[in-house]
């Protein structure tokens, strides 16, 4: 069911129940008001009737005209009061007719009484008629008391009806509405919470799907939108972690490209000096030894000329492969330039470095390069230098190794010289 329809249904039922209770309460209030109004009206009639009675007692003992005039005045007021009740329905029509009749009868009897009251000799009839008047007034007042009694009972009945009928219904209505609203609010809160949770998760970059509820079409539409957004984001958006991963990989690739000689896959000159400077400083601080060897391919130009540049490149690569196999992981092999390579040996003295250089030459001598059925024997000249206390920079160490290489070249190549 649509949320709007559910909400409308609850509102409509609530309004209907309240209207029902309001109408009944209004009717009861209206009825009670009428009864109170009737009660006040009856009190006014009673007041005038009492006045009439009082004047008759006065007239029994006196001929005072004032009392006669007063009686007639009260009687006239009573007549008007009873006439006014015809419009207001304060008294049932048949009862009102009786009262009007009795009142008229009182007026006529009073005139008889006044006539005989003038005659002092006729005291018996005067007394008899005055007593008759009092008896008739008494009858009139009994009728009024009956109306008052019924009115009072009617008020009690209405109030009782309110207590036993309207108020329980009102309480039930309030309970039903409250329960319905609590249930509705709780259900709504759960749905909103669900949406909120999914949006928070989406914000974190997780692109799951929301399970739709069957209770609300409106919320199901919202969930559909969320799921659609989630799918779109998932398809077109790379997560931060993935992006970071890619960037890291790309960075590594780029760094690798920047730090590696593309031909021989050895470190570049830049890396040599960077690592060398660090090792130099470390050796200086710790007092550990540090050695370098410079390797130069003998007659490289001749190889290029004889076999081609491609073979020459291959020869350099082959030399680097054999050198890499002879050195440790902590050692660094870099292309110094052209056909020259430098190997850096931390924690290694010149003697050990020379041994490594010797193994390199031996390895080359044992494993000639085979290229297109050509067996090419490659040799290298190596200069070895160890860090001395007088060295003030890594470059000076390189220079010493370079001098040693020059000497090895000068002494006939395929030699090892230690600075």
């Amino acid at each position: 069911m649509k949320l709007k329809r559910q909400f409308s249904l609850i509102i409509t039922v609530s309004i209907i129940l309240f209207l029902y209770v309001a109408i009944i309460s209004f009717q009861s209030w209206f009825a009670i008001s009428n009864e109170i109004k009737r009660s006040n009206y009856i009190q006014n009639i009673n007041y005038l009737a009492d006045k009439l009675e009082s004047d008759i007692y006065q007239l029994q003992n006196s001929k005072a005209h004032s009392h006669r005039e007063q009686w007639l005045e009260y009687h006239s007021q009573l007549k008007q009061l009873l006439t006014s009740a015809e419009q207001s329905n304060d008294i049932p029509p048949s009862t009102l007719l009786n009262l009007q009749h009795q009142n008229n009868s009182l007026g006529l009897l009073f005139r008889y009484f006044i006539k005989v009251a003038e005659d002092n000799n006729n005291t018996d009839i005067k007394h008899h008629l005055s007593t008759k008047l009092l008896a008739n007034l008494q009858s009139f007042q009994e009728e009024i008391r009956l109306i008052s009694y019924n009115s009072r009972n009617s008020i009690i009945s209405l109030i009782t009806e309110q207590l036993y009928y309207t108020i329980p219904i009102l309480v039930v209505c309030m309970a039903v509405i409250s329960i319905a609203n609590v249930y509705f609010a709780r259900w709504l809160k759960q749905l909103v919470l669900k949406v909120n949770t999914r949006l928070n998760v989406l914000k974190k970059g997780e692109f799951g799907q929301v399970v739709k509820t069957e209770n609300s079409d409106e919320f199901n539409e919202v969930f559909d939108h969320i799921n659609s957004i989630s799918r779109s984001l998932m398809e077109t958006t790379i997560s931060r972690d993935n992006l970071q991963k890619i960037v890291t990989e790309r960075t590594k690739e780029l760094e690798k490209l920047a730090n590696t000689d593309p031909l021989t896959q050895t470190a570049t000159r830049r890396v040599l000096f960077s690592v060398g400077e660090k090792e130099f400083q470390r050796a200086k601080r710790s007092g550990q030894s540090l050695s370098v060897i410079i390797i130069d391919c003998d007659y490289f130009k001749k190889v290029n000329d004889q076999y081609g540049h491609l073979v020459g490149d291959h020869a350099l690569t082959y030399i680097c492969t054999l050198v890499t196999a002879e050195i440790r992981d902590i050692d660094t092999l870099a292309r110094f330039g052209g056909e020259e390579f430098v190997a850096l040996f931390p924690d290694t003295n010149a003697e050990s470095a020379a041994i490594i250089a010797s193994r390199i030459q031996h390895s080359l001598a044992q494993s000639p390069l085979i290229q297109d059925n050509n067996k090419i024997i490659l040799t290298v000249s190596i200069g070895v230098a160890e860090l001395k206390e007088s060295d003030t920079s890594f470059e000076s160490l390189i220079e010493q190794a370079d001098n040693a290489l020059y000497k090895a070249k000068h002494e006939g190549r395929n030699k090892i010289c230690v600075a």
């Binding site: 049932p92 007719l97 008889y112 007593t131 008759k132 008494q138």
Partner: protein
Amino acid sequence: MTRIIWLGCFVIITVACITFYFDNKDNSAPTVTIAVPRTPLSAPLYIADKLSLFDSQCIKTNLIDVDGGVASFETMQNHDADFSLSSDSVIVYQKNIEPNFEAFGSIVQSDNDVKLLLKINKDLTQATTANKYRIAIIKNSASEYFLSLYLAYLGISHNTIELIAMRPEEIQSAFEQNIIDGASIWEPYAYEIQSEYKQHISVVESKSLYSLSFNLIGLKANNLASQQSTYCLMDGINKAIEVIANQPVKSQLIVQNRLNLHADFIKWVWRDYWFKLSLGESFLMNLNNLEAWRQKTHNASEQPILFNNVINPQVMMRIKPESVSIHLKNEREL
């Protein structure tokens, strides 16, 4: 098919038994006879009887038409009826004769029911001891009381009036035969006579001089069955009065047909009636006032009469307690 036949027989037998039971139950209700004066004042009885407002499980009613409250009372005294309808005057006058009855309450009041009819050329103030006016009255009734009241009102001496006791149905022929010059008589006789002899008889204007009450009276009985019958009778009358209040036209039609009177008359006389069930202090005041008047006019010097033993408020207390506001004095209080 056989089952259907058996089922049908069972249903028929069951219905017959139930009908038989209720018929018998109905037949067990006692029959009460009421002597009803032939006057529109008896309307509640006529209507209750016509509309079956008496609970048939409680009583069955038998209405006997009589002429006037005195006749009604006498019928009851002769045990030809269980109940009668009579005016307050009858109670007062008959109280001294037969104290074996009790009044249960008033069912209707009227301030213009008893009238004084006079021949056109007659004026009561012109009567003399030598030329007495012959006025018919119904003895010991509202008729007698009303005439004495009217004469006193005019200051006319009884010496100038010759009272002739008659029955109501004799008055019209008495006029015809010139036996009387006037009559104190109640409706509908006054209307019938005056209508018949419009040119010769007039009605003296006396509205509200005497407001009589019409009352349900019964013989004193101490058994429960009789008391229960009285309750049921009063209950039926109460329902009839409600019908009169709510459906006046229908009520008038019932009375009109019952008494075979003109609709115009019923409508005219109805205006002077107020139907209500009551047993209030005003009733006692009226009885005492009538009794005092009776003693004065009859030159009696009796002890004040207690109406305690002729008024039974129990019935009204059960049927309509809010209508009872009477306080009956006992011997000690007096």
